[in-house]
């Protein structure tokens, strides 16, 4: 069982890109500001028709929590898991989870990179993995 995002006209392009293993955020066609989550118009200059721009997929952990008590049965067999807010290299922040690391390895400020995981047929979520440098367990070169 997976918990999957319902989609709206506004949010569907984000999830469609994730299916194609691309991480995208909205970008104003006029003032070039980026933001996430999606909005109908640019929150800075109010221009209509924002575009979707692919980001590089690198970021850092802004904050995180190790969830040890599941509050939904769908996550009962997944605890402990690491929720995080990741700040993308381009600026916007995302809610995500850290994958491929033991909870005790995770620290705020660590560099991370997007990885895509298909959680259900046709549904792919962007997760983030620690960027590991040789000789440094915490990836803080």
């Amino acid at each position: 069982m997976a918990v999957v995002p319902g989609m709206t006209e506004l949010t569907a392009p984000y999830w469609q890109a994730a299916r194609e293993n691309r991480l995208v955020v909205q970008e104003c066609q006029s003032c070039r500001q980026l933001w996430h989550p999606p909005l109908p118009r640019c929150p800075h200059c109010h221009a209509a028709g924002p575009a979707w721009r692919q980001v590089c997929g690198d970021g850092t952990i802004y904050t995180y929590t190790v969830v040890r008590h599941p509050t939904h049965y769908a996550f009962a067999d997944q605890v402990p898991y690491v929720l995080a807010i990741v700040e993308l290299a381009e600026g916007p922040r995302l809610v995500t989870a850290i994958t491929g690391a033991a909870p005790e390895e995770v620290r705020a400020g660590q560099p991370v990179r997007v990885v895509f995981r298909e959680v259900a047929d046709g549904v792919t979520l962007p997760y983030f993995a620690l960027v590991r440098y040789q000789g440094d367990d915490h990836g803080t070169a």
């Binding site: 069982m1 997976a2 918990v3 999957v4 995002p5 319902g6 989609m7 709206t8 506004l10 949010t11 933001w35 996430h36 989550p37 929150p43 802004y62 904050t63 995180y64 929590t65 190790v66 969830v67 040890r68 008590h69 599941p70 509050t71 939904h72 049965y73 769908a74 996550f75 997944q78 898991y81 929720l83 807010i85 922040r93 995302l94 809610v95 995500t96 989870a97 909870p103 705020a108 400020g109 959680v119 259900a120 047929d121 549904v123 979520l125 997760y127």
Partner: protein, 405 residues
């Protein structure tokens, strides 16, 4: 609003418990009738109601008008966004009274989490209705849970960020990161708040945890829920109701010798700074603009040093910690040290959550903190702060009030 134009003349509440026999509707009636009796008023005197908006508040105005036999309600208003309603409902009630739209306004909050809608669970009927129960791929055991997009929930729930406690854990961790705390610093700060509030609850006959001692071993030994938050860093889940009655100051003085005056009441909203905001573009720790707190004090005509007691909304122990800073009592980044060294217990410069708070009295969306502030200002609280004259009740997202006797 002009300070002292309106007052709280009556308070009422039910018992608080894990599973009370009454429905939320019945609990609301008990609390409201109690508040009216406390004020020396009758249901027929009520001409205004202000409440927390659905889906949080389950009991509607028509239900109350019917069951109380209110002849005509001529003002009613609802405030959205959960805890953000705490100061707003009073602001609306006070504005209605001063504008002449109503003379006697009831404010209430009723909860029956035992009948569904536990805030700490995401898979039952949550406060937002049966969220996440929509199924894709049939109803078999492999069916998926589809999260409808609403307020960006579809970007968080699929990762398992589903409950307030998890979100507040992200805030608390960020606090430690920004201010350079190691885990032990944060544990001592959060534990100091939880243990202090439990001690207050032990002196409060209304508190659900009045018979449950808690020391550092109990606190540290409790299981981690969402790091860094342990079991006792999280609020209770319970049934119960609270209500209070607002009238003009002159009416209040006719009704009783000890009305509690409203000096100011605020609501506030900035981008992504709704009570559970997480996509804040600036620093996540700043949950409301500093100007909100300045407005609260300026309208009240008092300063921080005038506040004798504070009741801070505490869905988790992190919130009173941060509220000490965001309401301006302690400089940013110093509350963690302040709560361990100076503390918020009896005899401290600013006693906080003297009823035990949401952590140890009961969870009523901040409304039990309002009732406690009124008792403190009347001089009738179980853990009375000697000579308390001015009280602040505040939610972490900036919705607050200053009351005075």
């Amino acid at each position: 609003m002009t300070a002292r134009e309106v007052a709280i003349v009556g308070i009422g509440q039910t018992a608080y418990g894990k599973a009370l026999p009454g429905t939320a509707w019945d609990l609301a009636l008990e609390a409201i009738l109690g508040a009216l009796a406390d004020a020396g008023l009758k249901p027929a005197d009520v001409d205004g109601i202000c409440r927390f908006a659905p889906p949080f508040e389950p009991v509607s105005e028509p239900q109350l008008v019917r069951a109380l036999g209110i002849p005509e309600l001529r003002f009613f208003a609802e405030s959205p966004l959960g805890g953000e309603a705490l100061g707003a409902v009073l602001a609306h009630a006070a504005a209605a009274v001063t504008a002449g739209l109503a003379s006697t306004v009831v404010v209430y909050r009723a909860l029956s989490q035992s009948r569904g809608g536990r805030f700490g669970r995401a898979d039952g009927r949550g406060p937002g209705g049966p969220v996440g129960s929509g199924k894709a791929g049939g109803d078999g055991p492999e069916a998926h849970v589809v999260v409808p997009e609403e307020d960006n929930r579809s970007f968080a729930w699929p990762y398992g960020l589903m409950s307030p406690g998890q979100l507040f854990a992200l805030w608390a961790r960020r606090y430690a990161v920004v201010h350079g705390l190691v885990d032990e610093d944060l544990t001592r700060a959060l534990g100091s708040i939880a243990i202090t509030q439990r001690a207050y609850a032990r002196g409060n006959p209304n508190a659900m945890m009045r018979d449950r001692k808690m020391d550092w071993d109990d606190y540290r030994g409790a299981r981690m829920i969402s790091e860094p938050l342990r079991l006792f860093d999280l609020c209770l889940e319970n049934d119960g109701a609270c209500a209070y009655v607002v009238t003009g100051a002159a009416t209040a003085r006719r009704l009783r010798d000890d009305p509690v005056y409203v000096l100011s009441a605020t609501q506030t909203l900035s981008p992504y700074r709704e009570p559970m905001g997480i996509y804040v573009t600036g620093e996540l720790l700043e949950l409301f603009p500093p100007s909100t707190a300045e407005r609260l004090f300026a309208e009240a005509g008092v300063g921080r040093a005038d506040i004798d007691v504070a009741e801070f909304y505490d869905a988790t122990s992190y919130m009173p910690l941060r509220s000490l800073e965001s309401y301006g009592f302690v400089p940013d980044g110093q509350a963690w040290r302040y709560v361990t060294e100076t503390g918020t217990g009896p005899g401290s410069p600013l006693p906080v959550n003297t009823h035990g708070g949401h952590l140890s009295e009961a969870y009523l969306h901040g409304m039990n903190g309002v009732l406690e502030a009124v008792r403190q200002l009347r001089g009738t609280a179980s853990n009375q702060v000697p000579g308390a004259e001015v009280a602040l009740v505040g939610a972490p997202a900036g919705s607050a009030m200053i009351l005075a006797r």
